[in-house]
Amino acid sequence: MRDDLKVGVFLCECGGNIADVIDLDEVRDSLDVEFIGQFENLCSLNGRKIIRDAIFDHNLDRVVVAACSPISHEKTFQDYVKPLNPYLMDMANIREQCSWVHDDSERATHKAITLINASIEKVKQSDAVDPIYCQTPDEVAVIGGGIAGMNAALSLAKQGTKVTIIEQSPSIGGHMAKIGKVFSPVKIAEECGMCLLNPILNELVWNENIEVLTNAKVIESERRAGTYNLIVEQSPRYVDTEKCIACGKCAEVCEVEVPNDWNDNLSMRKAIYRPFGQSYPESYVIDMDNCSKCGDCFRTCNMRAIKLRQKPEKSLLQVGSIIVATGHKLFDMEKRPEYGYTRYADVITQSELGRITGVNGPTKGKLLKSNGEVPKRVVMIQCVGSRDEKPDGHRYCSKICCTVALKNANIIKHKYPDTDVLICYTDVRTPGMFEKYYKHTQENEVRFLRGRPGEVVKKGDNFIVRTEDTIKGEFVEIEADMVVLSTAMEPSMGTREIAETLNIGTTEDGFIKESHPKIKPVATDVQGIYVCGTAQDPKDITDSIMQATAAAAKVSEYNYGGVEIEPFIAEIDKEKCTVCGECISRCKYKSMSIQDDEIYIDPMSCTGCGKCLVDCKQRAITVNGNVDEKIVATINGVLSKKREGERMILVFLDNIGYTAADNIGVNRLSYPESIHIIKVISVNRVRPRHIRYALENGADGIFIGEFPGDLMYDEVERKIGMVKECIAEMGHNPERVTFSKVYIPYFTGLARKLTDFDNKILELNEAK
């Protein structure tokens, strides 16, 4: 019955890309189909008319487009075959996998005929199926309430999206709130950071689409059909934010004093406190780890806002997408004892210097040493923990420390022109406009020494900074009475934790990894989760805001555009299913779960690998799209064109391997004509019986490639091992089957492996 289907074949010349190598006249003569036509550029807009007219004129049921790779134009031709169902069209890749990898015209032409024939046989097995559209809820969780998270939230809220900010500390604001002064390379001036932050904070507080949860953490995450179910745990504040008017009487009576972490522990605060003057929510909070529970605050509070019996609360938050903005922390100076940070009060970090010079800091903006005097010489040491391959160091450059040092040096010079400031650097990295700020700093008489100090020791009242002046080539000892360390930025604990909770990839340095750092910024490797700010890599405020708004734009794209999913995924026959749960435990992609006493398959995470099929005793699962039949038909389509003495190797690859194979063509490398690549939705769908069938019907070799990052990799590798044993028992040579790792970037390796395998098969054939 399927043999009666009317198939139309459309051959594309692709300028000369295809027609210069492949003899298309020969191709037309060799294929027996209802319609076959040849066109210069099928993907151009008039291709749509050509294809549609032919479908009507010849009553076509199925279409094969023999042109470029489906990776390039499958979507285009799925659209051009309207009104046919998009899945009744198949592409034969005669460019990337034929004309671009072979130069012998006769053999390339024969291979093109073979590939097109395989597509014709395959497409006859296709049925009309509809793509699955998933619409994600237009609600977003922004994790982290620093400058990046705040901007991402605001941008989305202004576009009408409901946003929940989940902030771990008692106030939003993040690092920017405590920086003191920020600078602009264009204005060449330092400005009040809080004055820039406050309007953003206010706008956010008044926006009705934003809810802020402080003292809150995401502790669990689960994804169902595009909806994330987040379990958020909120630690108690012990102060009712609705009632507290932030009058501060409670803190006045509190007798417990502890180091103030917001001031980098350079001053003290009470056990009941407000993190900083502009903190939001505008309310006090009790640090229960240090509270003596004396009850003084409770008795003093006129508003009766203090609630000592509050308990942690867990709540469920359902969102369509997530923006991770969990930020950074600074390098732990205990790891570099040679600089004396833990031993000497006047060896400080740039962050602490920012607090000291901040008007809301421990000294109200006065630059003072621990003994209350103004330092005579401040030496700044760059690259502490950055550009450092020593244990616990970071190989990367933290990007902002050069300009931070320049800023703080300028701030010192403005107020204390008599204080000598010397910056010990390896390279001053001030790209773009920042270079002007560097010159401005030199004009302010800040001094620079090229050398990376090895240690700081105390000698009498002063420190000795030991370094080499590498320009003079001279070992120098510099006396200083304050040393400031430019510490590396590294992923915050929150960043590391959320990566684990949400199961998103991180870089070797522990930052959140973008799905493609060059052309897919802000997307993570999990659909619907985006990243911005210093959770992604070290960056400054401006870059954080830009990335935050980019992430917001991507979320909107995703929320409004919906997600189209290929329909070739598992389906449950509810009549047969006994809800035994076997499939749930087998599925490597965690796409199955029980909902309302039925097995539910999340279409977004199911890859159609078919692992669940094998283990279902009730045979209640099917994978849409006749995948099995299509594989068999494709094998037949290839092998039926085998000529006397021709070597035929079948290569099964999924989307990743297929892309790598395309890259061989794109880069104009080559491999033998015997190689016939068959694209499958999952390599796991190539079953032992397919391999056996192919070998028994003329295939000389079978090559199976899988990306090691695929969750099914181990499984497939194990299975191929078993298949080899099995076919050996049946009298075939197991060396005719091979399994190999494939990676998109290593297409040269794949070309070599394909060539090597062809040589091996040639040897085996000759030995026979």
Partner: protein, 198 residues
């Protein structure tokens, strides 16, 4: 002014060092950014004109004259540069390789001659003992060392340290044989002769 000719390949010198069996840092030497952290912690740099950063600079420039520079003999292998280098280089190892290059080129025999006592002790005791010619200096510089040295046998007895300080005769013979077969002895002789002739 120096001219770099189109046919010059200064990096070859660094390549030779990388390929040397003593080099444990792979391409470390090529990653040097001349930050000077090695020099800032180097005891030899503090007390002499030895400059570890400069050593790497000259190696990367392909400056072979460094083998003739007396300064390379001032490094005593404390490995501080090795442990502080932010790019994972080891000047200390590079220095050892340079010294070996120098010796292979007949340079530095006079420097080695001072240490012949160490070499001799391998033959006489099968261990690297401190040569007697240094005793006076150490006695002056290290308070208490001489007394310790005099009473070492008693101290070891008291601490019940086993085996005895000196290896047995057959071990000494075996080590001597190995050193002779492997050509160590010939090299020592060559160095000694070259210096004693002068």
């Amino acid at each position: 002014m120096t001219t770099q000719k189109i046919t010059d390949s200064p990096i070859d010198f660094a390549e030779d060092i990388i390929l040397d069996v003593k080099n444990s840092k792979e391409d470390g030497v090529l990653k040097c950014v001349q930050c000077g952290m090695c020099t800032s912690t180097c005891p030899a740099a503090r007390h002499s004109d030895y400059n570890p950063r400069d050593i790497i600079e000259r190696v990367l420039e392909g400056d072979m004259t460094i083998m003739e520079d007396d300064n390379i003999w001032n490094c005593f292998y404390c490995y501080t540069c090795h442990s502080v280098c932010p790019v994972g280089n080891s000047v200390c190892e590079v220095n050892q390789i340079l010294k070996q290059f120098a010796i292979n080129n007949g340079i530095g025999y006079d420097k080695l001659y001072e240490y012949m006592g160490f070499a001799d002790s391998y033959f006489t005791a099968a261990i690297g003992a401190i040569p007697e010619i240094f005793f006076e200096d150490i006695r002056r510089d290290v308070p208490g060392w001489w007394e310790f040295r005099q009473n070492l046998g008693d101290i070891r007895d008291e601490l019940e340290l086993n085996p005895p300080l000196m290896p047995p005769e057959e071990v000494i013979d075996e080590v001597s044989t190995i050193l002779t077969i492997t050509g160590f002895k010939d090299r020592i002789e060559k160095i000694r002769q070259s210096q004693e002739e002068e």
